[in-house]
């Protein structure tokens, strides 16, 4: 578990931790970078949209191993859950912008979906919960 405040200055610390964790778990370097990017973008969305850039609000992240059956094989993976207590984001209004469109904004969500196998948002008891999962292939997780 990792608990932090919604100050953007902590993003670099989280990126370093996630990149190290994914490398330790055996993800290839490209996936280490993309998972790290997804977590960074998700945290940025929380800071911007859920907490309206207030830097002193709580964010909690949970990391645990995950498994799924795929074509008769067990695939191991990493599950990351980000929780915040900000305003309820209306997930139905989340939009990825058309790729290649020359304008800023809307790219973060695309980067999250591109990186992860599972992206699920829910809200319960005033807590927003974003669940991200990335599976390895048949290779076993190092843990």
């Amino acid at each position: 578990m990792m608990a932090l405040y919604s100050n953007p200055k902590w993003l670099t610390i989280v990126r370093a931790a996630v990149e190290r964790l994914t490398g330790t778990l055996g993800f290839p370097a490209e996936h280490c970078r993309s998972i790290t990017r997804a977590v960074d973008e998700a945290l940025t969305n929380i800071v911007r949209h859920s907490y309206s850039n207030r830097p002193d609000q709580p964010i909690t992240m949970y990391f645990r191993t995950a498994q799924r059956q795929r074509e008769g094989e067990v695939q191991n993976g990493l599950e990351i859950i980000l929780c915040d207590r900000g305003s309820g984001a209306d997930a139905t209004k989340w939009r990825e912008r058309p790729l290649g469109e020359i304008r800023p904004g809307g790219l973060g969500l695309h980067l999250i979906h591109d990186a992860m196998d599972v992206v699920e948002f829910s809200r319960k008891d005033h807590t927003n919960r974003l669940r991200l999962v990335k599976y390895l292939g048949q290779a076993s997780l190092a843990l």
Partner: protein
């Protein structure tokens, strides 16, 4: 995040150092837009060789720099992209709108 600006001949060169993430992208955007407006050189070159990571807000800052340059008839050139920076531009399919070179020598030669 460190941002320094050099001018040589008719080129403005930005040397950026650090990660261009949500904590720093606003500073980068403001610096780019201010200097592009003031210098009005025909060529703007962004040195990213000491930038390890760029997030979506950093990409947005570069896009705004590109647009500001185009509005003034200037070229906007990137060089020294890290693997991570190149990936995020490729994933956004925006890499094709930028002029990208490996190093400063190539960026200034074209």
């Amino acid at each position: 995040m460190q941002i320094s600006v050099r001018r040589q001949d008719r080129v403005t060169i930005f040397d950026l150092s650090g990660d261009i993430d949500f904590a720093h992208s606003r500073e980068v955007r403001q610096s780019l837009l201010r200097e592009i407006q003031e210098s009005r050189t025909p060529r703007v070159v962004i040195n990213l060789s000491k930038v390890h990571y760029i997030d979506s807000s950093g990409v947005a800052s570069l896009v705004e720099g590109l647009k500001a340059s185009r509005d003034l008839g200037s070229r906007f050139i990137l060089f020294g992209l890290s693997t991570s920076a190149r990936e995020v531009l490729q994933l956004s399919r925006l890499i094709k709108i930028f002029e990208v070179y490996e190093n400063e020598e190539q960026a200034l030669a074209v």
